[in-house]
Symmetry: D3
Subunit: 283 residues, 6 copies
């Protein structure tokens, strides 16, 4: 991937006219620093941190890999180079690792939980990401073991209630098929009846939105009863949090979509510490 422009944009945001403090007080010279996890979880963002720092001419030696489980205290990256540049990149790099690892950790944790009751269920993310972070948020979900689902409006067909307020469901599905045969067609259903109708009209994926677990069970049973269960993938979504995900997993759905994986993120704590300075006589 060529994510470097995005990464440089993040850096620019943090230093539109340079780093005042370093320019004022750091006369130049090299330093060595370490980035250390301060909690346990699934690490993510090291590739991006490395790419950004190497672009600045900083040397980076990863100590673990993206997707690895780390403990509090694990050194994840060792870096060395011009002290001003290390300090310039510090916050941007930590913000990236902190958010991505937070997402990866949560995804991993949810998957560990649900696999106990439903070994085949997938945990999917949504497009409810932080604006400007889509690709990295999705990558963190994948590193945590999750399903990325749509990256954008451009890469999948999902017919939602707002579309159905404008076009009848059968027309909508037919038009989508006519438009392209390369896309699976996913249709949102708010009731059991809608779910059945969508499946009959040829939807590939049924998204049961905002249904209670019992209603989901009814919908699945009804689809089975009519011989439609095997021809569709069934997804549930709608404010599913860590607390309720197990219940949904137990219904036997194929995918559980959780906006919370990326819209309600607990930061993964990580810090950068300069361990040695003084590479220049000027310091």
């Amino acid at each position: 991937m060529t994510i470097i422009d995005t990464l440089l944009g993040y850096l620019e945001e943090d230093a539109p006219s340079g780093d005042l403090t370093s320019e004022a007080i750091i006369p130049g010279g090299e330093c060595v620093a370490r980035i250390t996890a301060k909690c346990r979880g699934t690490i993510a963002g090291l590739d991006e941190a490395t790419e950004l720092m190497e672009h600045l001419g900083i040397s980076v030696k990863p100590q673990v890999s993206d997707g690895d489980q780390v403990e509090s205290g694990t050194v994840v990256l060792e870096v060395w180079g011009d002290a001003r540049k290390v300090l310039l990149a510090e916050r941007t790099v930590l913000n990236i690792i902190g958010r991505m690892s937070g997402i990866a950790t949560k995804t991993h944790w949810v998957i560990e939980q649900v696999r106990g009751v439903n070994p085949d269920v997938r945990i999917a993310s949504t497009r409810k990401t932080a604006p400007g972070m889509r690709v990295l948020d999705k990558k963190a979900v994948v590193l945590g073991g999750g399903e990325p689902h749509r990256y954008s409006l451009s890469d999948g067909v999902l017919i939602k209630d707002n579309h159905l307020a404008l076009v009848p469901i059968d027309v909508a599905i037919r038009r989508a098929r006519d438009f392209s045969g390369y896309k699976k067609i996913e249709v949102e259903a708010d009731t059991v009846e809608d779910a059945v109708k969508a499946a009959k009209c040829g939807a590939d994926i049924i998204l049961l939105d905002n249904m209670a677990p019992d209603e989901v069970r009814t919908a699945l049973a009804e689809l089975r009863r009519r011989g439609l269960r095997d021809s569709v993938m069934v997804e549930v979504s709608g404010r599913i949090a860590e607390e309720s995900v197990m219940e949904y997993a137990a219904t036997g759905v194929d995918v559980i979509s959780m906006g919370a994986l990326t819209h309600t993120v607990r930061n993964f704590d990580v810090g950068l510490e300069v361990v040695k300075g003084g590479g220049s006589s000027a310091m």
Copy 2:
């Protein structure tokens, strides 16, 4: 502010080659839609939502203002225009409002809490924002009643432990003064001794980092004892969460810095519903 390029960048991220579903199934025509809060809190992001949608030619009528307290069910924006464009903007707009309102709500809640024990204390954000969201994250903090603190490395001097690993504190403060007389100089102190030393060397702001509330009290007392308390502003920071913020507020510090305001955000739930379609005979 001229935030429109940033907003268009967010939209581009969600639709790099257009909105497949709408292009496939929505034949054109107008619609009316409403954006509704689905929880209570401090609303934010309406200005940005309005600017982005108006840029696309959608008409927008705000029903409340950024910074207002809203209840679950409050309609915050009414919009009407080309149905494809409304659906194109939907997720981007909701993500912006969801995140910004989440930040504003949390900030407002924290301030309500701490004002009970310390009416003068300020609650500040840090640079631990979602990459690409800095300006909007900070704006949300201000709408919630918080203190923005530094927007970037370019707009303030903050001498942290990593700088002090490279340059002695007295030299650092002198160099910062020599560099510019227009900036307050903030110095991070990890111990009471460092806090006193920084104050003596002329720091304007002392940042007590990762100290327990008792240690903060000791530092404040020591500064007072030496007649240095009035000449410096004292800030605390370091993993301060909703649970511990009251204790810090009670110590009598001037500012409490909370990275969690922007790095660990609970999304504010908000939805867009098409309430009327059919403006075009083609539909």
Copy 3:
């Protein structure tokens, strides 16, 4: 859609430091102009032309719609406004209409042909578009009645020979399924055996690449014989031109992919003529 930045980029390319001729000789003032088709075919690019010119403050009145069949001599757009701006936009606008209409016309023509022998076959474009023109090239294909297929590497899974040189086919398909359940999986097959293998491994779409029509027939027969024909969509590709497309259509495949729709374009001739100047006394 927010294509305006792309359109302005095209304009910038044609006038990095302004329009020397107009600046030198046109003193200002309004003009009226017409854009006229100079051949017959399927018109495309009028939406983009309109968006760009309106962005410059030029008034535009479309006389026909994108996707319409036009004759040589048909006026497609009437425009009026500042003469310098009309002349500034002229070439960019004509290049967009010329290329997009060329693509739409060719696509439409091919579809007209093949429908005679195979009413259900689809004609698909590929990613062999002019660099920098992807979204518009694909839109022109759709306006001509074609199937857009993948817009980019980000929006579909297509396992090609180069992937299969690195990973065995069964592993590749399994990994793709594990990665996401939302995507149809397309697999390229260079031989009948590979086609059967891909279908057995669960591919949703089989791309028969560089096969002669007879070989395509054999592959379809073999898939039918093994009861796999109905569970897969079959696409052919590989240097299929106007001359050979009928033969492929007659084989009974579902989709014919033609890179030539967008990589070997015959420009649709279109011109802009100023019909009235003199809105300013200065002229």
Copy 4:
């Protein structure tokens, strides 16, 4: 030239959120690949392919040079590096080489033809390039032996019929001279009378637009008769295709302008084949 941003823009267009297929199925590791011409002609775009791939960290070894004549089967580039990155760049690189070589090949072919009847005539391109491809389209023309003519509205004065609808020819030429003495002034003439008038008014270049070869001969004779032929360069343009170019060349004009060189391009067929994978134990 610093074309890298343009090239990265092309890549971004082909992978706005990464390469789904490779991310799903290629676990990492190195590969070796070859780019091979699949038809004969004048190769172009190798410099750009090299610059883009080297920017991604891929090693590239050109086997021939831009502008060389190649046969079908000629290996033009050998590349090796991270397999995911090679596959990421594949289509973008092939599209660039395919289009540029198509243009260079056509230009070269036309020049070979016309040189037989008129050894001094130049073959010029116009601004009828694919939007977003101007610099590369023009470079391909030069590699094929052609004359680039204007790169944009900013780099030359060309007074066309639309200008002359707004300003009389003598005023237009005088104003252009007054504006800058550094530019040759080219004037479009649709009739012999206009051609003579333009030459008398001091045009440096006369563009005979949409004239039949006979009319061109008459214009040249008339200019000669009045002693104006030597002081002007004479160019012809207007839907001149491979079929008619010889006839125009034989008239004795100085330059033949062909929009078709860049607006009606036959793609040069070129492919990338992975010849060895497996550099990583993970594969």
Copy 5:
């Protein structure tokens, strides 16, 4: 011209995260303001100021036109709109007007001077502009009555000493002719001999660089003596300042090139004054 992106870039530079002061203290509401010249000279930059402010939704009413002579005290623009936006744009707009008017004023002044001794001589600018200001610097020169000369390396052929250090002059001129017949060929000459040689080899323009006025006279005489004077335009350049320009004008050259027009600019003093606030009850 579509200069708006450049103008917005200037604004972004002055407010990467908004206008702290206005956000802190101006609660909203409208204001009326005036931009007033505080010295006399040739005004420039009003078009750009207008375009930028209108883009922000500020109403603008120009009181004079770009290129007009103004006195100290002349109101050049009246503006009204959202007070925060007016103050946001203030410095950017004044910097643009200040620099462009400074350049226009100097150019106009020089031309007034030299016309007394040589009514036909042109005063040309060079590419020695402020980086990032090329188009506006050149436009200001034209508004002051000057000749823009090359806008960039892409729009003209100028063979300088550094080229001649690499390629002999006759080869260089021949190659330039072969490359394109549409460009005048300018050649730098440091000695009278070089000037004659360049003219003989077919240069269209001779640039006498760093010659004293007497040497220029000798060169002109020598060109005349050999019958070459009429076939070339002669330009002088090389640290020509207001003091020495008259002497060069008197030699009879065609063009005097002055880098100082754009590289050594005296700012034109201009200010913005809010004349009425209070459009909002909140203020």
Copy 6:
């Protein structure tokens, strides 16, 4: 700092479609060149020149450092590499060094002068920089020994007359304090009374604008008389030029702000000379 995008933007401005002359006449090959100061002063811009040229693959060896005093004739950079690239970068690099060194030289000269009469006074720049050059203009001021002051509207609070036309001074200062405790608050005062009032209301810095030196003395005396002098920093501004700066320095103010440091720049003369070509047999 990651200034490279800005630098590449400057280069793009000078060569939107490449360097016509070099492409026409330089067949390739290496060269060696020297950049030499042609006047004496404080050199600046070498870091930027180096970064840009190294980005293009040119090797650079600085002979002096930014901030050094140089004589006319001092070689400041030696460079070698592809001749076309050296010539491509030449003008952009010289424009950067020429402007930045001009600013550094002037700043240094002013500081040398004023230090004689007031050893503690600081010389500050303003935001009156060339649009698009802010960061580099400010960096040049710092290299010359000056105080950068605000980089943008985003990094400091300065309440000016236009704000005070909208909000009373006491309200303005209170709001600014409430907004953020991290910023020094600077208030512009046009009269002695206003200066006293601002100091009483708690301003940290008083900007005496457009006052004659005598009036400045009165203001300072009045502040002293009321015991307010020590609690505020006092700055003067308003058309202060090289001629009047000494008088202001002698008043005892803390800072003298000079827009002229960056808005009225005398270019520092610097040239690039190719000293050896011929690295390629083709030349």
